[in-house]
Amino acid sequence: MHSNRYCNRIIVLPFSVLLEIRVKPDNSGVVTDGVKHSMNPFCEIAVEEAVKLKEKKLIKEVVAVSCGPQQSQETIRTALAMGADRGIHVEVAGKDYETLGPLQVSKIMAALAKKEDAQLIILGKQAIDDDCNQTGQMTAALLDWPQGTFASEVSLDGDKVKVVREIDGGLETIKISTPAVLTADLRLNTPRYATLPNIMKAKKKKIANVKPADLGVDLTSRLEVLKVEEPPQRQAGVKVETVEDLVGKLKETGRI
């Protein structure tokens, strides 16, 4: 007899993103010191899905993992307030944090997934600050697990997962076996708000501290950022009175 509690553990990976973007004066990057972080919206949806699966009693435990400096703990706390059972904070700070990208995060996730014996990894499809949309896919590749990306609907069916994916031109339904990696798209669910009473309750939940070196992960980046600059300022528009004026102006600026 198959137990319907086949799925034991889900790891969710909420990213924290900067709330306010300012380019550093030397154009080498974006200011991160002292800027408030908040959970990536797609990751909120991922956490919500994991908690929903636990509430349906389809899985036993939800572990929230975040990689980054001290501020990442805030994001883990929010995930705990939404219903995750425990958290793991992978400490990455300073220079390593500046070069922390999808490749490094997925190496960390792969190591953790093996260590924690997880059946499902759920994350947001992309982070709204770097828009990479790579971490989920890379993690699946490193673990050699199937992936259900851009998920707008997830259902567990025995030891398989049915995923409805949002793709160009419509929806695609696939069935993949566990363990697997899923990335959440906008319409997967409506994430609950982490209210004050939930945050208070979540203070009792544990957050373990781990260093990437403990997991045997090498964080060196294969990328080098050459320059970061703001998009060009929008020029003010010019109003014209007549069509002749419009044509005149267009000729003036060499458009026609």
Partner: protein, 85 residues
């Protein structure tokens, strides 16, 4: 103020204050309005009345959660998805 309900009212105030941090018009604006709304009813003693006011407060909490969700949903949708024909 009736004693057992005092805790409920204070809890409601704290929850609303916490939610008000992200209010679009600013947390200061929200806090001022929140405080004056509560102060207006500070002399209410009838437990039935108090329960009704607390229920209204919980309703406002739900409205705020919906507001924040919609605002985020619409922002992400606008940024990442093609406008529907």
């Amino acid at each position: 103020m009736a004693n057992p309900l005092k805790g409920e009212v204070i809890r409601l105030y704290k929850n609303l204050l916490y939610l008000g941090r992200e209010y679009p018009k600013g947390s200061v604006y929200f806090r001022e309005r929140l405080k004056s709304a509560f102060m207006k009813n500070k002399d209410v003693t009838d437990p039935e009345q108090i329960k009704k006011l607390v229920a209204r407060g919980e309703f406002v909490i739900k409205e705020l959660e919906a507001l924040y969700f919609l605002r985020k949903y619409r922002a992400i949708k606008k940024r990442y998805y093609e406008p529907e024909e």
